[in-house]
Symmetry: C2
Subunit: 162 residues, 2 copies
């Protein structure tokens, strides 16, 4: 399957599960820059489950809207499991949505380091009082592919958890 096909299949699967279970979904996006929300809301009727996405591209936005701690950004960096966790937990508090997912990563082509190469992405989900934090598979093709791959990893995790 192409990336596009995989995204379509997983988007449909996640949307169906949300609708069947009557759950609402919100996202907090860094590296994907709104791509996750754009994909979910492409579907007619998505307002029945999709609540909001906070595209916190700048660090200040992460502080303002999600209550990420400046110390967390300083100590671990914006692209870290710790920041992903605080983004999802902050989103759950502010939105009250049933399922809250966050993503922070390095889309490239710049910004990679030896420890965190381009394609690195961390995802966190708050669902049923539990917080799940994962590192997505590191994939680096090009910026557009990497961003779509992060969305795919988000959908894949939601599909497993729901």
């Amino acid at each position: 399957m192409t990336m596009r096909n995989k995204l379509d299949v997983l988007t449909d699967a996640v949307a169906r599960k949300l609708l069947d279970q009557g759950l609402t979904l919100s996202s907090a996006e860094a590296c994907t820059g709104g791509l996750f929300a754009a994909r979910l809301t492409e579907m007619a009727g998505s307002s029945r489950f999709f609540d909001r996405s906070l595209v916190v591209y700048s660090n200040q936005a992460k502080l303002d809207h999600l209550g990420v701690k400046p110390e967390t950004l300083d100590q671990y960096g914006a692209v870290s499991p710790e920041t992903a966790r605080e983004m999802a937990v902050g989103l759950a508090k502010v939105s009250g949505s049933d399922v809250c997912i966050s993503v922070t990563g390095i889309a490239g082509p710049g910004g990679g380091t030896e420890e965190k190469p381009v394609g690195t992405a961390y995802i966190a989900v708050v669902y049923q009082g539990q917080t799940h934090v994962v590192q997505a598979p590191t994939v680096n093709v090009d910026r557009s592919y990497n961003r779509n791959h992060s969305v795919l990893s988000m959908l894949d995790l939601l599909n497993q958890l729901l």
Copy 2:
């Protein structure tokens, strides 16, 4: 030119103007569902000008993050010039970005009325202390096209104002 070409040309033009003038940009999106932010951040280096996008799909999100008044939603509806204005003004307050743009519309295929058919969209921009509110040209092809057309109208307005 195809829609895709037009979007590419206008995205480049707006990004160049923002970078040349050292301006930051934030968005508040309803009907476009993150598509505006996804497009702007597709460009490598967009973090130099793009701050955040608040994808306020639900009405509650519009109240929570942008300070849209419940009375405004009740009296004029979520898809109205008044709501577009409050979204952009609220975004300017919370983000402090130099340029703040909002959009609210009816992407379809459902949700249209005689007064506000599918494809209706209102856009507001706060820039240099002034608030500009416009109704975008009403275009109805299909949901995906309509959403992209709203992004195009947003970029077109920014290109004129900057």
